[in-house]
Symmetry: C2
Subunit: 305 residues, 2 copies
């Protein structure tokens, strides 16, 4: 049983187009780096090694709150975390989920992996609660399981890991702020039955496409008639990015999480790089600073070094 360990906790995309609140996947990069050490003093110690100036009081820190939830079931244990985040908070690619998931996976290694992946998701959801006020699992699950995950239901929690063919992901993070509270408030609480039916037809098509390695079906199913038409209004350049990405060969994509990042899926690296190129051009023309990533779906989830 090691007394120290380092893990890499990846960024994730939740709200995968038609799969609002149920589908997510892990990215190969960016990743947060987190070092763990057992200590003689029970409880959680947090050392931030990045410039984000996040709280070090465990109950107010996303990673800390997740770890506290785990330690409630492992009393007497002390863990020190040194955290170096590379996933920007507020980017919409699961920064808080990476902190929370990394914390519980790292601590679990030091506890001889006594907790199951599903238990780890439950602990990490306490971290998400600190970040957003809600215990959602749609970034946490892919971060811990890797690959694509379906949250079939939340009460009780039912996580279904899904297969996927090789997929490349282009992500653009325009440097604007979309407050999660705004992104929620803008959603209509009632939706037309016709639109809901179209959405669940697409969810069925997307899941089937992932199982069948059917890229065309995946592309046709990447359509969101409920959330995207509303939320995309908060992201300047969204329609242009989407249209030009498709023209550049992307299978499809949409808002990552609640934004402002936008992701697009492609069959191969060359297409994904071309897509990232058009994403950059759109924001350069709009005069908005942006970061882009060209990466793949991370099938492993949090990596233990």
């Amino acid at each position: 049983m090691p007394t120290s360990v380092t893990v890499l906790a990846p960024a994730t995309v939740a709200n995968v187009v038609c799969g609002f609140d149920v589908l997510g996947f892990a990215l190969s990069e960016p990743v947060d780096t987190m070092h763990f050490r057992l200590t003689d003093t029970p409880g959680v110690t947090i050392i931030n090694e990045d410039a984000f100036n996040l709280p070090t009081e465990p109950a107010r820190n996303v990673a800390g709150a997740a770890l506290l939830a785990l330690l409630r079931e492992a009393p007497g244990v002390g863990v020190e975390m040194r955290i170096s985040k590379a996933i920007l908070p507020g980017s919409g690619i699961g920064s808080s989920a990476a902190s929370a998931a990394g914390a519980v996976v790292g601590a679990n290694v030091l506890l001889d992996n006594r907790f199951s992946r599903e238990e780890l998701v439950r602990f990490a959801m306490f971290g998400e609660e600190v970040a957003s006020g809600a215990q959602h699992a749609d970034n946490i699950a892919p971060c811990i399981y890797g690959g694509v995950t379906l949250i079939r239901a939340t009460d009780p929690l039912d996580i279904i890991p899904l297969p996927a063919p090789p997929l490349w992901v282009s992500v653009v993070h325009p440097q604007i702020e979309v407050k999660t509270a705004d992104a929620r408030a803008i959603l209509k609480q009632q939706v037309p039955l016709r639109a809901a039916i179209r959405q669940w037809g697409n969810v069925g098509g997307l899941v089937a496409g992932l199982f069948m390695n059917d890229y065309d079906l995946i592309g046709r199913s990447l359509e969101d008639v409920i959330v995207e038409p509303v939320r995309s209004m908060l992201i300047p350049g969204f329609d242009e990015v989407k249209q030009q990405s498709r023209a550049a060969g992307a299978l499809g994509g949409g808002i990552s999480g609640s934004g402002p990042s936008i992701f697009m899926l492609s069959r191969d690296e060359a297409t994904a790089r071309a897509v990232a190129g058009v994403m950059e051009q759109v924001y350069d023309r709009l005069g908005i600073e942006r970061l882009t990533y060209v990466t793949t779906i991370n099938t492993q989830g949090v990596q233990v070094l």
Copy 2:
């Protein structure tokens, strides 16, 4: 190229619980028997060999309207159909779809299979229009393709045949009338976003369960929080049938089509027979005449003899 042929057109279940308007499957029985013969007179001749007294004027007959649609693309051809229906009209297990699908599959054999399955679905939808006023494909597609089908979208039509593990089906048809118009009028045209999300989580889970042969996941996903709570009010005994079927070992199930039939899925024949037994008991207690079927998912669709 044969000048005559006989086909068996199976019953189907549409609106598969969470998969309202998108998921359907074919049953091994009951089946309609249809005999076809090329004639020298262009057009459609219908001879009813059953006691349902359905219209013989082609444009007003479900099978006739489907066949007329096909013959618009095969001008000059004459086909005589002798129809012996075993699937009761108004049962909710795809009686009109069997007529329409059988008609076009049978005629296509006589035309050396010149039309694709998707074209046949399009022709058969004209039959459904005669039956219900709407061109829906959710019974037609499984009737023609066999197995389980997903109608991802209707505009344009996108049919995805899905795999399935061996499944037994118990169907009870209580001898009451549920008017399709009533079953439609009772639906709310706006649904809560939370319920829609739960529904598409279940659709994703059901499709994944079918691919993974995961009976437990299939069972957990057979939940409809949108349509069933409303439509089941039109079917006396529904809640009792559902609850007792689950207690007898059924994976789950719900209203077939727009009712009044109720179907339940089971892993094996013994369970499916026990489920049919409790279905019968419920309606016997209620003093409502009923028919039951214990059958399997028909992987072939319309069978050409």
